[in-house]
Symmetry: C2
Subunit: 337 residues, 2 copies
Amino acid sequence: MQHRSDRRATIRDVAKAAGVSPITASRAMQGSGLVRPKTIEKVVQAAKQLDYIPNLAAGTLSTNASHLVAVILPNMSNSIFADTLQSISDSLRDSGYQLLVGYSDNSPELEELLVRTFLSRRADAIVMTGHMHSDETNTLLRRAGVPIVEMWSLNDKPLDTCVGISNFDAARSMTEFMLDKGHRRVAFIGGLLKNNDRTQSRLEGYRAALEAAGLDYDPDLVREVPFEFEHGSLAMRELLAARQKPDAVFAASDILALGALLECNQQGLSVPGDIAVAGFDDERLASLIKPSLTTIGVPRQAIGEKVASVVLSALRGAPVDQRIFDMGFTLVERESA
Amino acid sequence: MQHRSDRRATIRDVAKAAGVSPITASRAMQGSGLVRPKTIEKVVQAAKQLDYIPNLAAGTLSTNASHLVAVILPNMSNSIFADTLQSISDSLRDSGYQLLVGYSDNSPELEELLVRTFLSRRADAIVMTGHMHSDETNTLLRRAGVPIVEMWSLNDKPLDTCVGISNFDAARSMTEFMLDKGHRRVAFIGGLLKNNDRTQSRLEGYRAALEAAGLDYDPDLVREVPFEFEHGSLAMRELLAARQKPDAVFAASDILALGALLECNQQGLSVPGDIAVAGFDDERLASLIKPSLTTIGVPRQAIGEKVASVVLSALRGAPVDQRIFDMGFTLVERESA
DNA sequence: ATCTAAAATGATACCGGTACCATTTTACTG
DNA sequence: CAGTAAAATGGTACCGGTATCATTTTAGAT
């Protein structure tokens, strides 16, 4: 922990060493195009000599631009979000923006706290997951004066802009797909509904498809569990223990579907022979396991890229005319259903 | 994108509204304990009234403390690191620190860039993964004047402090374990070695165990592939296609081991009957699949907590006497080996 | 060589907090 | 109730960049 007693070099030190004024040094480092090449050279040399490291806090204070884009995700364990995050990160890097990431754990209170911190740090833009925010959060965001993007779920009237897919349509499509295959008792293993518009919409889509097919909604066929592998297994075990077993199961995530598949394996049921199983997300594993998993493909990367491009144009002052970007999903038919 | 034309409230505005001086308002908001409760109340009310949001850039500039802890990870897709990150985040939250996360993609150049940015943002501490840095990065870090923690791998002479496990010992133990079981042709499926001290140490541990057992190191039994499920399968396929098949496989991550297991399944080989398989990391899935996976358990959460506690004591000025924290691993014996 | 527009450079102030030190107010003591 | 220490509060300056506008230098035209 070798703390150096000598103060770090400032732009003024660099300027002095280069024999120019601080503001010229600043412009030289910024590549503003206003400085003569020879002068830039002098400044850069001086900076290198002095191990100059600019202080972005000062820059932020002065320009009111932090070059930070804040992103709030539900959690850090879901690889789905990781892919989108990666894609946002990659797309923003070249423009000199850095990500400030926070995890809300699906708690509106935590989310509000995060928004406050991000505003305090003067994030240049804020990217949220979903559109279920506390009233206070909504107020904060509306007043924020920075671009806001809500991603993953579509939303009729976003705070500002939204980029995502219709979870409702996707879930309805998959349910219809199974019904079309002749299944009549289609169960639904969904994630926790609270504060999660994605899981809610998926359940609604499932119900809508049943209704359209003239089937009754049977609560016994629906399980609401955390998005964890083992809960997929447990839910499946419960469904299979019932007097009237399902002939198909639609899980609202591949993780849950995998758990369900495993349980079928354990019980010696053939998939899709005895029971069909479908997932949601199209995770890497989905195509690799046996039987490969029928699922909903979500353009995670495209979502990230679109989010980044929306943020960038907004930050460049280009008016984003479109406020809702439907990135579309695909129903990926494989072996399991 | 409703930008408000009116300037955001500053601490001076709040102070004026509360009828106190800016510095008193500042102290009231900070909870410094120097302000009378009645005054605090006035200030807090005024702040709420004005929708005051403090500007942390200004605070950082003034106090030279950003309340940011920077963390550099190899990638964002590996859940192993996510768990540690989560644990660091949780442990630091209460002390008011926020994480600034960057991903190096195992590239020393990217890592250096990240370090520069983090120093520019005046991160209060920097947490790195591993200890393979460019010379320039080492210089930067040594001069940084902030606590540095290198995590995950142990290191004889860390830049500052390091918290992790001995990948060498872990790999050697697992290899010995398999040899003790009577296997004689133990293959090794490892991750890419370049710029990754964890994979390198694991390979060395594997070799050391062979050597100790008087066995020759056979390059044909070693595969160096990316840490991806499908590469585990591919590597296993290659190993099984050879004239002399292995009787055991040690994969340097559970992801690879899963891929390998799958390939065995495909080929109708029984595990561990025909061939034993072991992994590394003890991921969630490891205990759930069939056969459950014998693997190396890494205290991911404990690593995160220790990292956080080291960072916190350093930031509080408490001298951390110990510089190397060996968090230990466990060999988790399950069905697959 | 002279003039003018464009290109470079610079002086000063400001961004919004807080450190530092001085001053005032409060609370306690005898 | 004075006297004193402790508790609150405030004035001023500063952190390290850059915006703004003024000034100087350079390059091109005549």
